[in-house]
C-alpha cells in the first residue's frame, strides 16, 4: 500500500517509471497489453501497404512506400523492445498475436483496393495514429515514452506523403479525382473509429489516465482529428462521407454523425474483411522464417567456437 502511494506520487510529479522500479502488477499488465498491441499494429500495418509496393505508379512513389513500410517495421521493433522491459518475451508476444489472444488496430483489417488507398491511409490512418501517439511521448513509463518519441519523429513524413499523394491525384483526371473520393469514403469512418469507444464505454481509460499512460480521452482526441480533417478535405476538393458533419459555432468544433459501433466491434472480434488474411500472412511469414532464425543461431555458435579456437592457438 505504501509502495503504491509512493508510486502514484511519482507519477503525479511527472517522474518517469523505469523498468526496475517497483510498479503495481496492474500497471505492468496494462502497459504490456497496450505496448504489445501497438507493436502488433505496426507489424500487421505493413501488410495492406505491402500490397501496393510492386504496383506503385512511379519509382518515386515506390521508394516512398518502401521507406514507409520499413519505418513501420522499425516502429514495431522499438515497441516490442519497450514491452520486453516489462517482463514479457518477444516470442510470447508473437505467440499472442498469432493465436489471436492479442489484438492489433482494427483498421488494418480493411482491404487496400486502389492506389488512392495508399494516400488515404497516410492522411487519415497515420493522421489518427499521430493524434493518439503524440501524447504518448509523455507516457509515465520511460521506455514507452522514449520509443514513442522516436516513432513520432518519423511518423510525420507518413502523413505528409499521404496527403501530398492525394493532392496530386485530386488535381489529375476525373478518374483520379473519383478514386480519391472513393478512398476517403471507405477510410473515413474506420479512421475515426481508431480512437476507440466513447469515453463512457471505454473500459481501460480511467485508470490509464490516473497512471498517465493516457493523457487525453478517446472522444477528445477524436474531436481534434475531425476538426483537422474537415478543413484539410477542402484542400483536396473532396467531402467526408458524413451528412451530419457541420461547424458548430457555439462549441467551436465540428459536429459529426453517429459512429457505427456494431461494425467496429464486429471487426474487433475477428469478422472484418481481412482479419483472416492478415493473421494467415503473419503466421506464414513466421513459419517460413524459422529456418533463417535457426541457421543464424547455428552460424553464430560455430563462429564463436572458431574464434575461441583461434584465440587459443
Amino acid at each position: 500500500m505504501e509502495q503504491e502511494k509512493t508510486f502514484q506520487e511519482r507519477i503525479d510529479n511527472e517522474v518517469r517509471i523505469e523498468p526496475k522500479d517497483w510498479m503495481p502488477e496492474k500497471y505492468r499488465q496494462t502497459l504490456i497489453r497496450q505496448i504489445s498491441q501497438h507493436a502488433h499494429s505496426e507489424i500487421v500495418g505493413m501488410l495492406p501497404e505491402g500490397n501496393w509496393i510492386s504496383r506503385a505508379p512511379s519509382l518515386k512513389r515506390k521508394q516512398i512506400l518502401i521507406a514507409k513500410v520499413q519505418d513501420e517495421a522499425g516502429h514495431g521493433l522499438y515497441l516490442y523492445s519497450a514491452a520486453e522491459t516489462l517482463g514479457i518475451s518477444r516470442d510470447e508476444m508473437i505467440e499472442q498475436l498469432h493465436s489471436g489472444k492479442a489484438k492489433y488496430s482494427s483498421i488494418f483489417n480493411y482491404p487496400t483496393i486502389t492506389w488512392a488507398d495508399m494516400g488515404a491511409i497516410g492522411w487519415l490512418v497515420d493522421g489518427a495514429a499521430i493524434m493518439n501517439q503524440v501524447p504518448l511521448c509523455r507516457a509515465s513509463y520511460g521506455p514507452y515514452s522514449r520509443a514513442m518519441i522516436r516513432v513520432c519523429k518519423e511518423e510525420s513524413f507518413h502523413q505528409r506523403q499521404g496527403f501530398e499523394s492525394l493532392l496530386v491525384l485530386s488535381r489529375g483526371t476525373n478518374e483520379q479525382r473519383a478514386m480519391v473520393q472513393d478512398a476517403i469514403d471507405r477510410w473515413w469512418w474506420p479512421s475515426i473509429m481508431m480512437f476507440g469507444p466513447h469515453d463512457s464505454e471505454s473500459q481501460h481509460s480511467e485508470q490509464s489516465m490516473k497512471w498517465k499512460i493516457k493523457r487525453f480521452s478517446n472522444d477528445e482526441l477524436r474531436q481534434r482529428f475531425v476538426d483537422m480533417c474537415a478543413e484539410q478535405a477542402k484542400l483536396l476538393n473532396c467531402t467526408l462521407p458524413d451528412p451530419d458533419l457541420k461547424w458548430n459555432e457555439e462549441r467551436q468544433h465540428y459536429d459529426f454523425g453517429k459512429i457505427n459501433w456494431d461494425e467496429f466491434w464486429n471487426v474487433v472480434s475477428g469478422n472484418g474483411p481481412c482479419n483472416k488474411q492478415r493473421l494467415d500472412a503473419r503466421r506464414k511469414a513466421w513459419e517460413d522464417g524459422a529456418w533463417v532464425r535457426e541457421a543464424a543461431q547455428v552460424h553464430a555458435e560455430k563462429r564463436a567456437i572458431r574464434n575461441k579456437e583461434q584465440a587459443a592457438a
Binding site: T85, G87, E154, A290, R293
Partner: protein
C-alpha cells in the same frame, strides 16, 4: 541490504514472467509454432542486445534501445537498420544485455545520500565580493 545486484535492462526476473496465465493454452500454441524443419530449436529466441549510438563525432555514445540478434555482427547491422535510418549515428556499440550491471533503484535514496549534504562542492557555495572578476 543487498549492495549490488545483477540487473540489466530487460531483465524480468522469475516472478514477473506471468504474461500468460493459461500455461496449457500457451504450450499448445508454441507446439504449433515449431517449424517442421526446426529440430525443436525454432522457439529459441536470439539473445537480447543493448544498442548505444554516437550521433556525431565529439559526443558520447547514448543508449537508444535494444534488439535481438544471433551475434554481435548481426546486432550491429540490425542496429543500423532499426536505429539509424535517418543518419542518427556515426558509430554503434552493442553489448549483450546480460553483461550489463546496474545499481538497484530500491537503494537509490541511501546510495546517493552521501552527496546530499556536501553543498561546498558547488561553486555557488562561495560568496565572493563583486569586485572579483572572471571567477
Amino acid at each position: 541490504m543487498e549492495f549490488f545486484k545483477k540487473y540489466f535492462y530487460g531483465d524480468y526476473g522469475d516472478k514477473e514472467q506471468t504474461g500468460d496465465k493459461n500455461e496449457s493454452a500457451k504450450s499448445e500454441v508454441s507446439a504449433k509454432m515449431v517449424s517442421p524443419i526446426g529440430g525443436g530449436r525454432a522457439g529459441a529466441e536470439w539473445p537480447l542486445w543493448e544498442v548505444f549510438i554516437r550521433s556525431k563525432q565529439g559526443l558520447d555514445h547514448k543508449h537508444v534501445g535494444s534488439l535481438h540478434a544471433a551475434d554481435a555482427q548481426m546486432a550491429i547491422e540490425n542496429a543500423r537498420d532499426v536505429y539509424t535510418r535517418r543518419n542518427e549515428g556515426v558509430s554503434i556499440w552493442v553489448v549483450e544485455s546480460k553483461y550489463i550491471h546496474a545499481s538497484n533503484p530500491d537503494d537509490a535514496d541511501s546510495f546517493y545520500e552521501p552527496a546530499n549534504d556536501k553543498i561546498y562542492r558547488h561553486p555557488t557555495f562561495y560568496d565572493l565580493p563583486d569586485e572579483v572578476k572572471h571567477m
